[in-house]
């Protein structure tokens, strides 16, 4: 439906030079997102992967307008996102959030019906409320919907709760769903069902989605494209099949290598702790942990790695000195 209006080539949601900084304790500044360009095409599922603390959640929230960028802009349908109440409200009928922890994402005092209808009520859509709620629930896989209307979240299983959250997003007929680790807190056995649901929604409704995850397997399962983040930047960006089977950035490579039955051979375990957004190293942000620098395979560009900043990745590609100058 919506696809007809928007030309396929034009991104639905995008951002340019996006930066978000936080004031961290001790007077420091955390550069949670620090220069990101990203495009989400209609009907596409984009995975956002990376270690803990690399800024995935912040980026997702900023795309949703929940966080105001300190630099750069978010574009929706080619227009910059406004932050006035009215603009945001309008935007929020189109872009919806699905959170990691479905238990926390539902008010324990609200019934499923209330939780799903809340979006309608906020936007003043009182017409056919019951039908719309029922429809959203059944689209989210909770059938028969009426059976769940009066249930409280704590009476449902984790998978069902996540479906309720998704139904709450679907009820407003959005075009984009941004899901932050949508299955991370779910039991292994029900994970697949939820992912399948997301895929089906894309296929049936043409929904686009950004799925934040640290699990590359998940990206492999459902995503079309993947953006790998490191310390507030996207270091590699491209089709899932491409990036995950033939990772080009040493970081992506390490991430893929530690998977069981990994397609890239020997596991390369990065030493050290996840990076700290308040202390961003100069040069290539990854250089202190870079295995390529360590094993000498990047000796040629070692200097650049330590000193020269990499440009912000604007399109599918990789941000690495090693790849920038093919040896």
């Amino acid at each position: 439906m919506t696809q007809a209006v928007v030309p396929v080539t034009e991104p639905l949601l995008s951002c340019r030079d996006l930066g978000v900084r936080f004031r961290a304790p001790g007077g420091r500044t955390a550069r949670a997102v620090d220069g990101v360009n990203l495009e989400l095409r209609p009907g596409e599922i984009l995975a956002l992967a990376g270690e803990s603390g690399c800024g995935k959640t912040t980026l997702a929230r900023t795309l949703l307008g929940l966080e105001r960028p300190t630099a750069g802009e978010v574009f929706f349908r080619g227009r910059p996102l406004g932050y006035r109440g009215k603009d945001l409200k309008a935007y929020r009928r189109e872009a919806q959030l699905v959170l990691q922890d479905p238990t926390g994402a539902l008010n324990p005092r609200h019934t499923v019906y209330e939780a799903v209808a809340e979006g309608l009520r906020i936007h003043g859509l009182h017409h056919d409320e019951r039908e719309r709620v029922a429809d959203a629930l059944s689209r989210a896989g909770l059938r028969p919907a009426e059976k769940f209307f009066m249930a409280y979240p704590h009476e449902l299983s984790g998978g069902q709760r996540q479906r309720v959250v998704i139904a709450g997003a679907l009820v407003l007929d959005p075009t984009v769903i941004i899901a932050d680790e949508p299955v991370a807190s779910l039991d292994a056995s029900v994970r697949g069902e939820i992912l399948a649901l997301l895929l089906r929604l894309r296929d049936e409704l043409g929904l686009s989605a950004v799925v934040v995850t640290h699990d590359l397997g998940l990206a492999w399962n459902i995503a079309d494209r993947i953006a790998v983040m490191y310390l507030g930047r996207i270091v590699e960006y491209g089709d899932v099949d491409e990036v995950l089977t033939r990772p080009r950035h040493p970081y992506t490579r390490a991430l893929v290598s530690i998977l069981p039955d990994s397609p890239v051979g020997e596991p390369q375990i990065l030493t050290g702790e996840p990076p700290d957004a308040t202390q961003v190293p100069g040069g290539c942000r990854f250089h202190p942990r870079c295995p390529a620098l360590r094993d000498g395979s990047a000796a040629a560009v070692a200097d650049d790695c330590r000193r020269t900043r990499l440009p912000v990745l604007g399109e599918p590609g990789v941000a690495c000195h090693l790849r920038a100058r093919p040896a």
């Binding site: 030079d17 001790g26 700290d276 942990r289 900043r309 440009p311």
Partner: protein, 360 residues
């Protein structure tokens, strides 16, 4: 394009966040960082305490000078005074000045530590404070030590053995004590133990007839007088400590490290004593400090019932008159002490508890 120009911007050089383990120098770095944070914490808390103190001082002026009016009657005594006398008194007390001047005088008095003279005597109120302070310290400290020692002990045990009959009894006793009006408890204690049984003196701090002149004579005399008021005052505090400690232990009890300790083969009471209690004591300090003000509440009532010649009694006496400069000083003293104790407790707590040493 825009990107390229930005790449040239110099960035802060790499902090050692990337590879932390292998660098021993980092211990020093971290320690310095923590110390800096600690100092900042102290500074923040200190400024907070300072603001509180200023508020205490202002409140004191507001309540006693602005709200409360003219205390001349209090000064003149049983026999009526002539208008000339009244005027003279007003002038002597500075009550004829406009409020602004009085405030200025008040502020000046703060810095010179000259709080004026009592309305009923010509003594400096600060002198009165110092005279009465030791008795209060003796009473409150005894009560507090008793209550804290027994209270935390019992609280720790009852929290540890939650659901046991012993715990239920302890909590019941504590709640009952907490709900008992202190003054009433004191009244009953006097009737029962002093008047009826004759075990303890009725009230006061010294025997009415005087005792021997030796140190120990006096010591035992005072100690004998101290028993009932200290126990009365300790009752509420005890209840507080039991409940606070019990809650802390309960919060602590759910933590896995206690299971780990048990799994390591520690016996139950070692787990409690070595792990649970020390950890639970830490939050207890803050909670107890927050309740510190109640000690003064209790001391006013207890000292009044037992005619214990401390600050609480002085406060009560000053109310009856009302002796404004004295009330003012006592109010600032009580509130100020409480603010200070809380400040110190916060610092102390942070110093003691590694969990909060780093705010991040």
């Amino acid at each position: 394009m825009a990107d390229i120009s930005r790449t040239g911007v110099a960035e802060p050089s790499a902090a050692p966040g990337g590879t932390p383990q292998s660098d021993p120098a980092q211990a020093a770095v971290l320690r310095r960082a923590y110390r800096g944070e600690f100092l900042r914490f102290v500074a923040v808390k200190f400024s907070g305490a300072l603001v509180s103190l200023v508020m205490v001082v202002l409140t004191s002026f507001f309540i006693f000078r602005v709200l409360a009016g003219d205390p001349v009657d209090a000064v003149v005594g049983d026999t009526p005074a002539t208008p000339e006398q009244v005027a003279a008194i007003r002038e002597r007390l500075g009550l004829d000045e406009p409020m602004g001047v009085q405030f200025w005088e008040y502020l000046r008095s703060l810095f010179t530590m000259d709080w004026g003279t009592s309305y009923v005597s010509d003594k400096k109120v600060t002198t009165l404070l110092w005279e009465r302070l030791p008795a209060t310290v003796l009473l409150t400290a005894t009560a507090m030590i008793l209550a804290a020692a027994f209270g935390t002990w019992v609280g720790a045990r009852s929290g540890w053995r939650r659901g046991s009959t012993g715990e239920k009894v302890q909590v019941g006793v504590s709640l009952t004590l907490w709900s008992t009006p202190t003054f009433w408890l004191g009244m009953i204690a006097i009737v029962a133990f002093s008047v009826k049984l004759g075990w303890f003196p009725v009230n006061g701090m010294h025997s009415t007839r005087g005792v021997g002149d030796g140190f120990w004579d006096e010591f035992f005399d005072v100690a004998h007088h101290l028993v009932l008021p200290a126990l009365t005052m300790a009752a509420v505090l005890y209840a507080q400590y039991v409940l606070i400690m019990r809650t802390s232990i309960l919060e602590e009890r759910g933590n896995d490290y206690l299971t780990v300790a048990r799994a390591k083969g520690l016996r139950d009471d070692h787990v409690r004593r070595l792990h649970a209690v020390p950890n639970a004591l830490l939050p207890t300090i803050t909670l107890a400090a927050a309740e510190f003000g109640t000690i003064f509440n209790g001391s006013v009532l207890t000292e009044t019932v037992f005619s214990w010649p401390g600050l609480g009694l002085t406060f009560y006496q000053a109310i009856k008159i009302p002796d404004i400069p004295l009330l003012q000083l006592l109010f600032v003293f009580f509130a100020g002490t409480t603010v200070l104790v809380n400040f110190l407790a916060e610092i102390f707590y942070r110093f003691l508890d590694p969990r909060v040493r780093r705010s991040a």
